[in-house]
């Protein structure tokens, strides 16, 4: 679990993680939103094991998530925007969002 430092007064934006709303500081990444929301997994590998971000700098690709319906996005490299919808990526990414 991660928590926001109580001393901070940075403005926030609202996003949802798996449908659950959370306020995160402006400039934070979608991966940070998932950690702040208390999730213990951001993706599940094709082999079924749970993962969380490892590097937070765009190298490891363990933070792949579905953001605003686009799968396979490096959530540590995507800045949060008001209303952004972040979902865990389970298994291999879908080829087309509409294909389900």
């Amino acid at each position: 679990m991660f928590r926001r430092r109580s001393e901070t007064r940075r403005p926030t934006v609202s996003v949802t993680v798996e449908g659950r709303p959370i306020a995160v500081p402006v400039g934070a990444s979608a991966a940070a939103a998932v950690l702040a929301a208390g999730f213990n997994s951001i993706r599940e590998t094709a082999g079924g094991s749970e993962r969380m971000p490892y590097c937070m700098m765009g190298i490891c690709f363990d933070c792949l998530a579905e953001i605003d319906d686009v799968p396979n996005r490096q959530s540590c490299m995507v800045e949060v925007q008001e209303g952004m919808r972040i979902c865990r990526q389970v298994g291999a990414r879908r080829i087309h969002p509409a294909a389900g």
Binding site: R5, S41, G58, C60, E79
Partner: protein, 465 residues
Amino acid sequence: MTVELAIVGAGPAGMAAAVLAGELGLDTVLLDEQNSPGGQIYRAIERAAPDTPLGPDYLAGRPLAAALRASRVDYRPNTTLWHVDPDGTLFLENARRSETVTARRILLATGAIERPVPIPGWTLPGVMTAGAAQTLLKTADLVPEGRVVLAGQGPLLYLVATQLVRAGALPVAILETAPLDNYLDAAHYLGSLWPGRRLLTRGLGLVAAIKRAGVPIRRGVRGIRAVGRRTVDRIDWEGGELAANHLLLHEGVIPNIQISLALQLRHEWDETQLCWRPALDAWGQTSLPNIAVAGDGGGIAGAEAAALTGRLAALDAALWLGHIGEAERDARARPIRAALARERALRPFLDRLYRPSRAVMVPAEDEIIACRCEEVSVGQIRRAARLGATGPNQLKAFTRCGMGPCQGRICGPVVAAIIADVHGKPIAEIGTYRPRAPFKPITVGALADLEIPDLASGIKSETPS
């Protein structure tokens, strides 16, 4: 669009190079994947509060970012470089649109990555790099909650520990993995201590602050494992264990060479820092005449040295593009080189003290996952090497190792070291993966809207009539 100089990466090297290139009148574009300047070391520097727990060394990045903002440089944040042609064409993606920029000269300032630390359990949620925890503090004011253990070695490990102490997330322990022999090896380089005293004082200050805060430091720790069912709940090592919710790993940093490898620039194995780096001349010039490298991407020396090598590369680019003469380049470079020598003075000592142990380079346990993307274990890599795979690219075909989305960024060093170990050869003879475009995932849509007039006319002219 055509520019004189394209710089890739807005960390200390890229920012310093861009500011100087702008001053010298070079038509310069600075491309960066992040939303604001700073790179990893000064990430989110423009948002930093003056009393940030990240401390004064972090705030030192502010003037550089301010100078960049004040310059005439075409700074492009949120821009991903997904391919580059050796002739100077850069393929970019921004907000899911692609475009190309052609540069007469390219400066790669892609910085460093943390060395992968393949220990049992390193894929468990709760395990991340020390740098990752620091990034969360820089960009989102987040600190790990519960029992935090830091493990590994190197200046960044102590820096992050100090920052967590200041941020109110007191670690329960630091497990230092530097082999005790390293202290003896480093003792041969005591001569670097006096010229490197400024950096040394800073480092000793960090260790003192950690001890004052009451965080125990264990030295010579071996055999670290992260244990837990769904998330980490315990850290084991030879002769000890600790309950923990977070394990922050760090075994030093290595050059980020993904793009320089893709360009097939000549690379050298650095036996002291145990990593590959592009072969460079004193100005950062690579084996291709129009491409240079500055900063930690050309060999690890730290943020201050990165800014200095960025300036040297900018001067050389200015000469190459006809903005200044050789005498002016050399005169301007003299004080920069003197400062660079001071910055690098402590390196020989640090490189020995924090040389990763053999267990970090070649993990002993077969069950450890080496390729996090394709979930390939150390044992599978060892078997493929025994079956005859002679290098990382061949092993990729045997096991899918390195074929996942990270394109071998994480497993590359591990795979090469295991193959070298199996065949009893030096890593220098084993080589590296050959990364290919796209360097980052792009949508088919972003690819499809790319307009390449030259390509279209080229295809037309080659069509037999």
